[in-house]
């Protein structure tokens, strides 16, 4: 017999989006608008080398030829890209802080509210297994544990620093997984990305702590375009966490990030996200448009990339973390919980592209919709001619809470090698009032009941998350579904 002790709905009483505060810090922004000069100005302010400036400009020109994609099952008014500001840095960044003491105390206060163990005190207080790079609006502010990591040859910090300190690495890998022509939002990101995180784990090194990035959008009318590049060299291992919050605003805010992962021979990357951007109010006003391109390249033999995501926030989520399984015996995994409530819309899923021999992939997707929300799973499994003995297992489960929400599954399968084994399973469950009453009758209040049912439903995904993230994810789920029944 087994008992699970996963009791963590303390957060349930926080009725409102609890990260909805605005930090009052002077920021150094570009005026709204986008043209080649803006792109060059961003690059100039960041003191980038010429090759990077030209790469951005190429991306910008390509972007002007593109139309926004319309195939996703999401609806929103057209975005006025000229009304956005493409650069916003907290002012003090101009003389970048050399240590935590130099970081604006108000910023540190912000991170404290977010629960990020950034200040020295917290670090000493034993949250010492996570190294954090925090991205505030557009620039990366501080990285803890830099020293410890450096001793192992691990490079972890802001993308801008990496461009300055390790230009050869950035040049070698940037755009090799998500090319600048990849898609509308990725192309835009390539032109205007402001900062993000960079990580390189050298050959044979097992990163001893979780690496973590927190993204927070603060300034109004700013697009946030981070770029993350993570490379695990031969035999390396890293587990990477990404957390997101944003203040509550009336306007929708655009977030179009790109994440590129490269796993060389025998390397392993575990990338976990808990996404909790502001979802907008009950009528769908405000909230983040989260249009993100995430892709991992299993470049070497026996490499492995796992994506785990818990998506509870954003007004619209458009996101398909994918794996290109090029190396023989490489493994791709995708574990996802996507929750939508009220007017939220999510179109999310994954692509597993099998190229190498004996490659295998697993997809576990759990979609939960409540209120009037729409939740779509869109997955593609492609087996190339070269991929002898490829295997895929996909499981897509949907849960509906109430009867005004929707769940949709769009699995695409493209098999070009007869030795492939591809399995797909899908289920839909509905939580109705009778189930809630049954739980009530046993003494559970409605929120507890929904929490229990939903957490049970998501168990397979939560167990892939690092411990502290799993707890946070459960709480977030509770908060997101607050008041969704009855």
């Amino acid at each position: 017999m087994k008992i699970e002790d996963e009791n963590s709905f303390d957060g349930l009483t926080d009725k409102e989006y609890k990260y909805g505060f605005v930090t009052d810090i002077e920021s150094d922004s570009l005026p709204p608008g986008l043209d080649e000069n803006v792109v060059r100005e961003i690059s100039r302010r960041k003191e980038e080398p010429e090759w990077l400036t030209e790469w951005r400009v190429k991306a910008y020109h390509h972007w002007t030829t593109l139309e926004p994609p319309t195939w996703a099952k999401v609806e929103f008014p057209p975005i006025d890209y000229q009304a956005l500001s493409y650069y916003s840095a907290p002012k003090q960044k101009i003389d970048a802080p050399k240590s935590l003491d130099e970081v604006d105390p108000e910023l540190l206060e912000t991170y404290k509210k977010l629960g990020i163990p950034l200040g020295e005190q917290e670090v000493l207080a034993g949250v010492a297994t996570v190294a954090v790079d925090a991205v505030f609006d557009s620039v990366s502010v501080a990285t803890t544990f830099k020293k410890n990591l450096e001793e192992l040859g691990i490079i972890f910090g802001s993308f801008s620093d990496a461009v300055k300190d390790h230009p050869e690495l950035v040049k070698q890998y940037l755009g090799t997984v998500v090319p600048y022509k990849d898609n509308y939002y990725a192309t835009l990101n390539s032109a205007v990305f402001s900062d993000g995180s960079f990580c390189y784990i050298p050959k044979g090194v097992r990163c001893p702590m979780e690496l973590s990035t927190y993204f927070r959008i603060n300034a109004a009318n700013t697009g946030q375009f981070e770029r993350t590049l993570l490379i695990a060299d031969e035999g390396a291992y890293v587990s990477y966490l990404e957390g997101c919050t944003a203040p509550q605003r009336d306007e929708n805010q655009l977030h179009a990030a790109v994440v590129e992962l490269v796993a060389h021979k025998d390397a392993q990357i575990k990338y976990s996200t808990v996404q909790n951007w502001y979802p907008g109010d009950k009528e769908g006003k405000g909230g983040i448009y989260n249009f993100v391109t995430k892709r991992g390249h299993c470049r070497g033999d026996n490499s492995k990339i796992s994506w785990t995501q818990v998506e509870t926030g954003s007004a619209i989520t458009w996101k398909y973390p994918s794996c290109i399984l090029k190396g023989d015996n490489s493994v791709g995994e995708f574990y996802s919980v996507a929750v939508t409530n009220n007017m939220q819309q999510a179109d999310t899923g994954t692509k597993m592209i099998h190229i190498g021999k004996n490659t295998s992939s697993t997809i576990i997707s759990k979609g939960i919709s409540a209120g009037k929300a729409q939740n779509a799973y869109r997955g593609m499994v492609k087996v190339a001619e070269t991929a002898e003995n490829a295997r895929n297992f996909s499981q897509c489960d949907s849960m509906l809470i109430g009867d005004r929400c929707g769940a949709h599954t769009f699995p695409y399968i493209d098999i070009n090698n007869p030795t492939a084994q591809v399995e797909h399973e899908a289920t839909t469950t509905k939580i109705g009032e009778d189930q809630i009453f049954y739980c009530n009758q046993r003494g559970l209040d409605t929120e507890e009941a929904v929490g229990l049912i939903v957490n049970g439903f998501c168990k397979e995904v939560f167990k892939e998350l690092p411990m502290e993230f799993a707890v946070e994810a459960q709480k977030l789920l509770g908060i997101t579904l607050e008041g969704s029944v009855g």
Binding site: I3, E433, Q435, F437, Q441, G443
Partner: protein
């Protein structure tokens, strides 16, 4: 003081008046049985008592353990010791029977100001109660009622009741769908729970259950009213004569 005191209860569902003036008093330690034709309002009564909001109480007063039930929503009634074994137990996917019960037991304990049971104490409690109910281990680990057979669901209801140790157990046709052995096991389970403080309201169509769980009173419900009350011999009478003499006196 009575454990349950129902005075002139009227209730409706989906705009139809179903209960039309129920009066019923259950004292601590008593076992009452309600019998009556299909559609007479027995399950409606149990749902109204349990606080199912689909059912609307339109008139009357219900006191349970000294509290006015109007003041308590469903989960509070449950925590206060009112248990309903459902006529049609509901399946809850994704959450194991055990984990569900642990949450339920601890919710009740918290309400009563008792300490929470940890995993070990809880397992001990499970072991003790499980043997009484002869419940298979795999049913504990499976999602609540999901894919259980009809009889397994009923047995699970009584197992839950044994775990929660309520003040009042309402058993809505728990005997329907049970095989002969299961009926005996379930009845033994209920009898083991009988005590001077704990009361039961048994809703049944069959006199046989009352051979096993002997009631102090038998009530006949027809068209939303209790039309006759007697001792256990009333059940035998009904078994022989049916409800013919009451049905038709008043249109539905």
């Amino acid at each position: 003081m009575a454990l349950l005191d129902i005075k002139n209860l009227h209730a409706s569902v989906a705009g139809n008046d179903i209960l039309k003036g129920i009066n019923l008093t259950i004292n601590p330690g008593e076992v009452h049985a309600i019998m009556g034709p299909n559609g007479s309002g027995k399950s409606t009564l149990s749902n109204v008592l349990a606080g199912n909001e689909i059912y609307e109480k339109t008139e009357g007063e219900i006191l349970f353990d000294g509290k006015n039930l109007d003041d308590l929503v469903a989960h509070e009634r449950a925590r206060a010791g009112l248990f309903l074994a459902f006529q049609y137990p509901i399946e809850i996917p994704g959450i194991s029977n055990m984990y569900f019960l642990k949450a339920a037991v601890n919710a009740g304990r918290e309400y009563r100001g008792e300490e929470q049971l940890d995993a070990m104490d809880f397992i001990d409690l499970i072991e003790e109660k499980k043997n009484v109910m002869n419940l298979r281990d795999d049913l504990l680990e499976r999602a609540v009622n999901s894919g259980f057979s009809g009889g397994e669901k009923k047995r699970n209801e009584i197992f839950q009741m044994a775990m929660l140790e309520p003040k009042l157990g309402i058993l809505d046709e728990t005997d329907s769908g049970l095989d002969i052995d299961a009926l005996r096991i379930v009845s033994d389970g209920v009898n083991a729970l009988r005590s001077p403080e704990r009361s039961f309201l048994l809703i049944t169509h069959y006199q046989r259950l009352l051979d096993y769980i002997v009631p102090d009173f038998v009530h006949v419900m027809v068209h939303g009213k209790i039309v006759k009350t007697g001792g256990k011999e009333l059940a035998l009478e009904l078994e022989n004569e049916g409800y013919a003499s009451w049905v038709g006196e008043e249109g539905p």
